[in-house]
């Protein structure tokens, strides 16, 4: 299990800080062996890493990549939904709109953000922020990390389906560059509602799927315990999605996952986003919309 490998690696690295030379040799050999073991991960391992509690969160990412972040709160109708974070910031000195799922770092924060499961108000907030981005010509950067849209009574009363549909519809026609980065869990419509983009990037150990592996096993086999098997058949890893053309670029992570060296992840993410943005910068609004339409229109050609 990757969980055991990672915890052994962590305690070993702690021990190495205080080890004498003789111990260090043995520990280094063991460490190298563990890292080698982590070089080839199964889909189940990647889902574990995608959900790792210390995985970089959207607020960390914004702090690392941007300056002058101004958070925009509320859907302008009835509520502020903290499970989506959005606002304006400077990215390499240029104004951008950033939006993404927020899970929080501590249990208190997790609860305040509903563990990153938005209600319709969250998606409606995202929509109004995206409209503002279009008005002011700011590129939109989204960061996806959600167990899914919240399946609760209030969410249904307020039109969860409509909110997701209208987010997808709006994103398909934004006349500014849109770049989406799947950073952790990308589950179902709740992820896609922030994911219709000119360039969809994905961290190496993130996953993106039609439904959570647990939900998939539950629907198809009536047995959520078969989630490991679901991870295997769903083709939810970055490499598989790149082959499908669902993802346009895979951002490398340190061996053992993003939580082991967040700075390295931010550097790689920055590079990928910058180069995607450079590619899109020369395009007009009409060209962006036409190109995005064609991209999704061609997804899975059938005869």
């Amino acid at each position: 299990m990757i969980r055991d490998t990672l915890s052994e690696l962590e305690s070993l690295e702690k021990a190495m800080e205080h080890a004498d030379e003789e111990e260090l040799g043995a520990l280094s050999i063991r460490r190298a062996a563990l890292l080698t073991g982590l070089a080839n991960l199964t889909p189940v391992d990647r889902v574990f890493l995608a959900r790792h509690p210390r995985r970089p969160r959207i607020d960390d990412i914004i702090s690392a990549l941007c300056t002058d972040f101004f958070e925009q709160r509320g859907d302008r109708q009835c509520r502020e939904d903290a499970s989506i974070l959005g606002g304006i910031a400077l990215y390499h000195g240029r104004p951008v709109t950033v939006i993404g799922h927020r899970k929080g770092h501590s249990i208190e924060e997790n609860m305040a953000c509903n563990f990153g499961m938005p209600g319709p108000e969250g998606y409606r907030k995202a929509q109004r922020i995206m409209r503002a981005a279009e008005k002011f010509g700011r590129p939109v950067l989204t960061f996806i990390d959600t167990p899914g849209a919240y399946p609760g009574m209030e969410a249904e009363e307020r039109g969860q389906g409509e909110a997701i549909a209208s987010s997808i519809a709006l994103m398909s026609r934004l006349r500014v560059p849109v770049i989406a980065v799947v950073t952790g869990e990308g589950n179902s419509g709740g992820a896609l509602a922030l994911g219709v983009a000119d360039e969809v990037l994905m961290l190496e150990n993130a996953y993106y799927a039609v439904l959570s592996p647990e939900g998939f096993a539950s629907i198809l086999w009536k047995d959520p315990a078969r989630r490991d098997e679901a991870c295997g058949v769903m083709k939810l890893t970055a490499g598989e999605l790149y082959d499908f053309g669902v993802v346009d670029g895979v951002i490398p992570e340190p061996v053992g996952g993003a939580q082991r060296d967040a700075q390295a992840v931010y550097r790689a993410m920055d590079e990928a986003i910058s180069s995607a943005l450079t590619k899109l910068d020369g395009l007009t609004g009409d060209e962006l919309v036409a190109r995005r339409y064609d991209k999704y229109r061609r997804m899975a050609p059938v005869t």
């Binding site: 919240y150 249904e156 307020r158 389906g161 549909a165 039609v210 669902v246 899975a300």
Partner: protein, 234 residues
Amino acid sequence: MALDALTARERLDATFDAGTMQPLFAQIMGHDPLAFPGYMDKLAAQQQKTGMVEALLCAQGEICGMRAVVCVLDGGFFMGSMGTAVGEMAARAIEFARDNALPLVIFSASGGARMQEGILSLMQMAKTAAAIEDFKARGGLYISVLTHPTTGGVIASFASLGDIMLAEPGALIGFAGPRVIEQTIGQTLPEGFQRSEFQQAHGFVDRIVTRDEMKAVLAQLLRLHGYGKGGARA
């Protein structure tokens, strides 16, 4: 409670004037992108059972003399789920309506995205929603009719995007299914939760329309949007 299901074919017959229907893109087959065990066999069994190639039928024809494109999801075919074939057929039908300046009516009945086609089913939500928005942006009229049940990835894409939203009486309409909600909140849902009448009370449906009046209401809406005989727009 919900009405008994109509097949897609019965729905088309009930919607178009006799003898005017011409099927569109009837022969599109989907993918098995996950090479999902047993999927192709199950698909063949659904085809055998229903006589349909996939869960969506698209056609053009006349509604009280006015030409229109009508698509119908058949809940009896793989629960009306949307995979690559359904998404592609819907997108082609929407583009056909756009290119021929015809109004578009989609009757939905679906459990959502088709699990067996994985992420590519999810992407059909983006494909169909983008096609609808493009159609609407060019002035097209889209009437979405929600029938029992319309849930998951279908209500979270094209089915929610109608210029006009109609529903049949008693249809279950929602993003999450009732069982998932009950498991999440740990309580039983009240009677009528997520039904058409509930959706109308919460602002998501313009009108609940019985089967008797459906064709007349569609014709009224076409006229109100300036469509006339033969599909010409005034």
